[in-house]
Symmetry: C5
Subunit: 324 residues, 5 copies
């Protein structure tokens, strides 16, 4: 392999949980240099599994004699007789009793590395499923609030934004996990390398096409992650559909408000015209009609009649222009 | 294969319908452990066909001596002389008489497992077609309602949202079924494994490229599902197009309303100016014109003239600014 | 092949036009059972070419001794010495004289099945080209109407919707035809099977890579269909671009209208303030100023002055808030 | 090859520029029949390079003894000792001196057909680069006008529409040219066929993998076209981003206008209420307060006080409803 | 290889930093002709690494005896015993001490060309990471400003536009770098060619599949770039989500403003009606009620009562029409 200089000068040690194939687990701490020397594998590869490096892409690397498993929170270096688990989060350690239980029950026909990988993959799936189950009910509540009450729309929108971001992140995670599993499945060479126990025993190179157990293992968990991804995409579609419909609804509502407002404006305008007439007759100027007894009623009647007529006329006009 | 520990501790039995290759059907119940032992196939694979696990991705898995068929509602384990059908829904059982009819008619040149797979695929296609036929007329009604009446727009939108979600789900289902069939078609090894009857008789391994019947079978139903998917995409395009046009229509309508409102505002403003003049002359203050007999008519005429002139002027200005 | 039970119990016969390799054409009618027996090919495959089945995906299937050609309206079963053409539409029959002309002219070095396939492909391309030529001028008219007159926008939108749907359908058709041709081109085995005349004469199996003529034939027509598809996509882009620009234009226009309306509102408000002052002095209450001769002019001047000042002030304020 | 009937009955001749490998160029005219006979290549293939056929998809076809090169404006049939160039546009002829210069300088180790192809590819790249350089500055001007002045927005939009269409067309062209080059690069057989000079000399078939010079040639120009395509996509992204931001800006501006309008409406309403009070006291009816000397000031003060109070109250209310 | 004429007539020399495998570095200047002669590699290939050509697509070309590395700012020609580094930017030179340090430390088991490539790839990753880290905090500030204050929305939008363009560019760069690395990883032949030291020593051709070290090297840095690309896509999604939510929020706010405005319009209209009545009684015409003492209070009460009633009625109507 490639020897590597001190990529990261600090040779600080990281906590590691070593679980041997007989079920014994020891908590210890190792520096990366020690690890690389022990595994005869370049430091660069170890960085994949190093929990102190933030933001790692999911990857399952098959190296001669070891599998570097780093998907989501689960970061481990799997050997034929031991697994080095990096405790990135407390609940990752739940893999240990699962493996121990399998070892206890197991007829030992399954090689140790496959037992460990299955437990790791199961833990990853469980984690992803929990994330999805965490988002979904909150999202449903918000989407339902869009349909029912129109008053708290702004509040619902404020709650929707972080949920949309979470969904995008979750989908991205699921897609990269799928991609990483697919890469394993498409690489015959890597899958053959993953039979650590077998490869150790036999001297001759393994045939590249003898990897059915590993293939079935990854295929199976890939299907589960794809199902989850498809559920998340469905949720995103629902969000998108709801948003689209809400936008058109708001537009329709606005047009309805504006139409009613137009109706008021028309009426208001004719009333203003009438008020102008009354204003004219209210001027302290001589019209010569001041003393005629019937004029008051004629003018008043005329004003009200004209208002009614012009409102009717304008409404008819607007109907014809399809504004109302 | 991989032995598996008690993934799901409860060893509750699920109802199964066993249909043997001579047409005899027995309803029974099996636990998953029994099934796995009988089929010598890992529990993990059986989970695919287990109706008690919710939300399964469509998959057709070829294993040594058995085919695990799980697409949509149809979940079955096909052997060379028997099929185990899980009755997820009552209408899935309609596969049984279809197979029995084929057996009765058949010249028995077609192996049992192919007969069963064809009936299963046909049932899946029928199911998907029904879902599509169920959505389409309702969607057409809603889309037509957009074109005709503008009054019930909000109601139409409320009915459109669940339909859009249904369409997205249906498309997702169709796409995953296509993907699952394509995966079978691209895997020579799996298709060769599916000749259960042949593989049982012959001792030598089957040539990987002798799978024309299975290939034609899947190819054919794949074409049907793809056609359906393309129809659903066309429906989605129509929805999208209608929404886009409706949105622009609402915008145009709004601008027309606002223009008319602007016309009213202009007229209203000039009327208000006239009213101000009448108000001025209505004040109980001495203007010195109180007793001049012609002033009333001059002022009134002036007011009306100015109103007409300023309305005309402002409309001309707005035309030049292309607001009207 | 797979024997098939009565998929569709009705054994009604469909009209067929048989054109033999010497140019003789006979109109006849065949039931599907007869056809399947004659061609020794499963009913399932025939369904592809059956015009009574609605909505078929384009497909060119190579079977032993026959080619099942079903693209768009052209549905035919091609044999080494005969072609069975299903007259789905009258203009499909124009393939017959084209083939006859080719036979008359031909130096007969080209096998019959290739002559027929070329005529079929040419007809398909002509059909697709006509559909595209039918949509384009109507679409250009509508798009131009968007640019010129703003009055008939709603009408243009009503005419745009069906055109957009037509474009989407046309594109989908073109894409599926391309996909179908590509599938032929990527399948060496199928192309080798399509040399019906050659395969009949020779006893030994054809080499899988000897298919240059068929490859060039499909390659050529594929280029034409792809060109058409790219033209349709360009049209769709133009529609999209026009819509986007029209939407922003409507928004800009609306803001301009609202700004002018704001100007009117400001002026209207100050006039209303003035009217309030005149109203105050019009009250039949004693202000004590009733008899002072200059007050009328002072108050009137004050009102007009304040109106002018406050209009100017508010406009300056709005400019600073960048509302005007 | 496939003999072809008279696809296009008119056997009109097209102008051709023949440039032989010793640098001599002759302008002549050939009918397509003559050309096909000379090249022993089907008419169908020649159509690709025929400038009288409008709208051709870019394609580089390798035939036995000739290369049919048709990308953009450059349409040519390349032989081992001659190239037939179709002068679709005057500037295409600039390829001739470029080839002649190369021949003059050349150590003749490079076969003639590669010299010609390099000149053709270079011309195509130059053409595409010029198209891109033509659009970019005009687009930048329009995009900048969006950022600076808000008054000429409608004009900018009118200028943006044709530019967007041009960009889409350019991108489509670039993508199809890339696709065409990629198809050459992925087809070992075609690249081997393109060694016209070598293939003529040697009797044995060329090894399919000996095509490094042709591969490097196309790889190189492919990189240039991809770079251009990526630049065009970046421009489109900028347009999209600007449009999105402008749309939200217009929305924000509209809300600001409406808020100010709301402020005016509130004030206007309270003034109208005050005017109503003055109107009431202006009625020619007896209130009994006509002669009380202080009432005038009390009512006037009351009106102004109420106006101030209710404006303040409504503004506070709107703030609480977050409307202002 | 292909000899090339003077593509670019000016044979000006470019500054080059030569670093030999023993760690000695010399700054010098070379013309492209000299370089091509020295490397026996076509000028066309050198253009990839030529810093005077603007806008290069990232590419790593394996040639016989040399690797042309041109990704981002890092442009170099790597030989088995020397590297020619083009100092496009000052910080590119930081590769030199990194390589020297590696040489000093190295057990020399790693060939020189791999050491150099690792340093180059590390520098590229560092550069890209810095670009991403540069954009992110500024973007977060802008996105947060959207959530908190609504007043500076226009300013935030002005700051968002260049950031969106930067993100698009960065994503495009990351995608093209990934593509370039993937192309190396998918080309066994190129990776085998990159063992410059090995290939020089051995006379026999290297087996195409012996390239694990190079593969692991590129795989590793590809993962890092992909992770960065996925982070950038996440940022873009956040921007998109925020924009969508802000747009709907603005719509909701606008509707709320319009509703309140509608309420004001309704009230205003009824007040105008009341004012009309007062106007009527304010006319200097005889109604005959002038002297009746109670009329004033009856009319005033009637006006206020009607106003209240009609406001209530219209609000109820609007509620029923779901406008309020």
């Amino acid at each position: 392999g490639l020897p590597a200089g001190p990529v990261n000068p600090s040779s600080r040690s990281v906590p590691v949980l070593r679980l041997s194939s007989d079920g014994a687990a020891i908590e210890t701490a190792l520096s990366r240099q020690q690890l690389a020397a022990e595994l005869t594998c370049p430091l660069r590869d170890l960085r994949m599994a190093d929990p102190t490096f933030p933001g790692q892409f999911p990857s399952v690397l098959a190296r001669r004699g070891s599998i570097i498993f780093s998907v989501g929170e689960v970061k481990a270096v799997i050997l034929s007789n031991e697994v080095l688990l990096f405790p990135t989060k407390p609940d990752v350690l739940s893999i240990v009793p699962a493996v121990q239980e399998k070892i206890r029950l197991g007829i030992r026909a399954v090689p140790f590395e496959q037992t460990v990988m299955e437990c790791c993959l199961k833990h990853v799936c469980k984690d992803l499923l929990e994330s999805a189950r965490n988002v979904e009910p909150r999202l449903r509540t918000v989407l339902d609030s869009f349909k029912t009450s129109k008053n708290s729309l702004i509040k619902s929108l404020h709650r929707l934004l972080p949920l949309k971001n979470e969904l995008d992140e979750l989908k991205e995670t699921l897609v990269t996990v799928c991609k990483c599993m697919n890469e394993v499945l498409m690489n015959d060479e890597d899958m053959a390398l993953m039979y650590l126990t077998d490869n150790e025993c036999k001297s001759t190179a393994r045939d590249l096409h003898q990897h059915q157990e590993i293939e079935m293992l990854f295929e199976n968990y890939l299907l589960q992650v794809e199902l989850l991804a498809s559920d998340v995409i469905e949720l995103q579609n629902e969000v998108r559909n709801t948003e689209e419909i809400v936008e058109i609804e708001l537009d329709v509502l606005r047009n309805n408000i504006l139409r009613f407002e137009l109706l008021l404006s028309i009426s208001g305008f004719t009333v203003a015209l009438g008020a102008l007439v009354t204003g004219v007759f209210g001027m302290n100027l001589l019209s010569g009609w001041e003393e005629k007894p019937q004029t008051f009623w004629q003018v008043t009647g005329g004003i009200y009649g004209c208002i009614m007529l012009s409102i009717a006329g304008t409404v008819v006009l607007c109907r014809r222009l399809s504004l109302l």
